[in-house]
Amino acid sequence: MHSRREWAWGYLLIAPMALGLAVFYLWPIAQTLYLSMTESGVFGGYTWVGTANFADLFTDEEMYGALGNTLLYSVLVLAGVPLSIVVAALLNVPGLRGLSIYRTLYFLPVVTMPAAVGLTWSYLFNGDFGAINHVLGTVGIDGPYWLGDPDFAIYAIAVVGIWSSIGYNAVLFLAGLQGIPRHYYEAAEIDGAGRLRQFFRITLPLLTPTTFFVVVITMINALQVFDLVYLMIDLKSPALEGSRTIVYLFYETGFVQNQRGLAAAIAVILLVLILVLTAIQFRLQKKWVHYE
């Protein structure tokens, strides 16, 4: 093999992508890190302010509010992960017919534009004419003004977050389930273990690598939620205080108030938060993830 030529081809074929990533990914990362230490002036341009942006953010109530809302939302969405395991387990029942129909239906929220999804759910959650409060009313519950109430808004958004991620996660779990060798179940059956026992003693432990992957991905996505909040909560709604997430605050600061330096600092905080929480997940996995 002409290895010199192979080198040249390697660099040549990677060049377009590497160049694009350098311009639109790597340079922006460095730039954002730099901007987070600056303040944007009225006439454009930036002045160096060191860690002042971070100091400001650490005493800012809105920042803490956004942090709290984001973490609450993430925990709620993570609590929905078991639902996907149940759906995947049901889809994996031997001899089940209509698999592709179910898959299509459960996947519908994943493929639909979040804009359309968010608007539809904001209608469903409307306090006056919304279908959800109507249904709750028929069983005697007086529903709140979900998206107008800072105490309830984030829960309503989390419901949508869970609803729209079940299909995606279930597909990952289904792939994990199909990777479990059948002979484990055959052995368990001979030992007289029932279906439920098999599920808890074989399926769940052998599914832990997939579960770990899904939990990490779901967490990282949830920490960056923006679309649903932006679409479901009106800018002037009193509920914004209870549902403003970190990315929403970033958008507001950087592109509504045009404080680019401060917004960059918020993005850096988000990066650190994601890195720390992901590292913790990787630490914890030793305690509960079983690799064959």
């Binding site: 992508m17 299509t104 519908l108 493929v111 359309a116 209608y123 009313g137």
Partner: protein, 271 residues
């Protein structure tokens, strides 16, 4: 092994499917209601066959223009991703060159950084180029992707080595091997990445929202979001727009679901 009954599974799955489907059905119903019907208490669960909503939404915002914008951007981004990602993925998986490992790690690092970190500098790049409120502002950053490179690399790695070795002995250049021999074999990967890119590009909101503020240059996603501000309670018109905006991807998914699901499962289990 005893044959298990499947009907209990069907009961639960069907109930769940109903929950998945209901908001869409409800959206479709409301898109055909009159404004007073859409605000009725208790809710009216049947359409009033107000077809004019669909004409009105095209009249009240440049929806046709936004639709065209979205199609152009999505097509360009998807084509670019497929070409550039497959080229880089092929090189990473099949060619040996110094620094390959380090370069690939750099690609992976990009994958782990949240998108918000790119946003402000990208905006300033577009501003500097005079590209704000243009379709190229939406296309240019979208055609590059570390995820697609990583995903297709997995597909290239799964092919037997003998294929390119034999072709190389016959004198084929790496570009010929890529194009004539390996690319046809990673078709499932290309289809899956293509579907994912279409989905993401079609729906993405934050970047289009930031970079194109002129309604004429918006994509459907941002257009719908701005529609909400203008017609705060006109849900029938809003939903007519939503139906128009989400239908193409839903149809595409219905046709291509097997490839998409296979792709997600493939990268998911190896991720």
């Amino acid at each position: 092994m005893s044959k298990p009954r499947t009907w209990p599974a069907h009961v639960f799955l069907a109930a769940g499917a109903l929950v998945m489907l209901a908001p869409f059905a409800w959206q479709l119903v409301v898109s055909l209601q009159t404004l007073p019907d859409s605000l009725r208490v208790p809710p009216k669960f049947t359409p009033s066959w107000q077809w004019s909503n669909f004409a009105d939404v095209f009249r009240s915002v440049p929806l046709a223009r936004q639709f065209l914008n979205t199609v152009v951007v999505t097509a360009a981004v998807t084509a670019g991703q497929l070409l550039l990602c497959s080229l880089a993925a092929f090189a990473f998986a099949r060619l040996r060159f110094p620094g390959r490992g380090a370069l690939f790690l750099l690609f992976l690092a990009v994958l782990m950084v949240p998108g918000e970190l790119f946003l402000i500098p990208r905006y300033e790049i577009m501003q500097g180029l005079g590209w704000l409120n243009s379709l190229q502002a939406l296309i240019a950053p979208g055609v590059f992707g570390a995820f697609g490179t990583f995903m297709l690399r997995q597909f290239f790695l799964s092919l037997p080595r003998e294929l390119d070795e034999a072709a190389s002995i016959d004198g084929a250049s790496p570009l010929q091997i890529y194009w004539h021999i390996l690319l046809p074999l990673v078709r499932p990967g290309l289809l899956a990445l293509g579907m994912l890119t279409v989905m993401w590009s079609w729906s993405s909101l934050l970047w289009p929202l930031v970079v194109n503020t002129d309604p004429e240059m918006m994509t459907l996603s941002a257009g719908l979001a701005s529609l909400r501000g203008q017609f705060l309670t006109n849900f029938p018109i809003l939903f007519a727009g939503s139906v128009v905006a989400s239908l193409p991807v839903i149809v595409l998914f219905a046709v291509m679901q097997r490839q998409l699901i296979a792709g997600i499962a493939f990268t998911g289990s190896k991720g």
